[in-house]
Symmetry: C2
Subunit: 255 residues, 2 copies
Amino acid sequence: MSPEPIPLRAPGRRADRARQVADVLRQQIHAGYFDQALSSEQELAAEFAVSRNTVRDALALLKDEGLIERAPKIGTHVARRKYDHGLDALLGLKETLRGHGDVRNEVRAARPVIPPPAVARKLLLEPGQPAVYIERLRYLGDLPLSLDLTYLVPDIGDEVIARDLETNDIFALIEQIGGGPLGSADLALEAITADAHSAMTLQMPEGGALLLLERLTKLEDGRPVDLEYIRMRGDRITMRGSLIRPPERTDWRLT
Amino acid sequence: MSPEPIPLRAPGRRADRARQVADVLRQQIHAGYFDQALSSEQELAAEFAVSRNTVRDALALLKDEGLIERAPKIGTHVARRKYDHGLDALLGLKETLRGHGDVRNEVRAARPVIPPPAVARKLLLEPGQPAVYIERLRYLGDLPLSLDLTYLVPDIGDEVIARDLETNDIFALIEQIGGGPLGSADLALEAITADAHSAMTLQMPEGGALLLLERLTKLEDGRPVDLEYIRMRGDRITMRGSLIRPPERTDWRLT
């Protein structure tokens, strides 16, 4: 079953090969392999054993993603650093990006609301009971990273909006005001394209890719207190984590 | 700090309100709340305490995401069921979607290659050592869900491509051929837009949103054996999981 190995270039269509090259380059860019300037087309063609046309196609894909910039005579540069957000532990953005710079929040709303029934149900509120709504545009340095819509249960939310929302994670505020330590969160992560208004707000191209995170966070005692809808710029955030293979389904899980 | 609660409608721009409504509706659609037909504009306007114009804007956002279809006289319908892929445990697509239908793989490539150096490094292969490359378009029923590019270490890959790749998860094949039980995987999850060729292959609109999963899977002994680049259609897959709040940073982690 092991014929002579064939370089990637041999079979397959050029678009397929470009995708293969782009995926590996993307990973190298995120890992900081290229610092600023990418290798030349010629060097990349040799490294991947593909034609220069295929390299050009691969670079065009990464350019369309906003990951690199290309200019005649100047060459190919990394356009934007991406930041890792953890899928292993429940952390706020400021905690996550500690060491990368200051996270600053532009507070677009912070007020009591009567939440939609579907939100009330998730937060175990009675119909008509108020919640607190907070909307923040979150920056790292000068560039927006995410637009966060947050619904808090009223006892906690009323105290949270009395605090400094511009420089603090809501998670930290909930724990500070004695809401008790957070316990866990349920996440749903989707890819969507940015509508015109979200794109304008996040200072990104309309139609660009967003990671949409819906997160319901609970206190240690299991009470849901915080429901969020977070739009992260696809060109600025990568979610990272690790997974364990579960035991055989016929086994009982012992841990 | 607790003024009279105000319905969502009161302050804020219409585009902001439409986003708020769309986010909650999206969650309800995924949860199967609407079965097929959505409530009327009038009912939704009452439920969310917003104007019908805002409801229309919210529905337009969801239509652009491919989630709903709208037609005069017919009303608003759920266009496409989304499926959950787990972020809690390391499972193949077929295992994950057990109960939802048959996963079928169109095998676009399955052959030895000399992998790019960056791939070889991740799989702990010597430069120039062959790997096995597999490319699959994965269907649930008639619709493509994902396009998967897989690099396997040669000892395992040679045996995997001798098996039935059309109906089996690669994870299951690795374990069947005695590569040993899988242990864990490192994940990176990004949102990107679909280029023309990927979109055509996945039968989705060009520029639509993709979840791009890079996954390096290791055997129980820690040896990396399987590096994958998986493009999942954003309108068909949601990644779901839960996270635990880590202990205080000043504490030692005891588990």
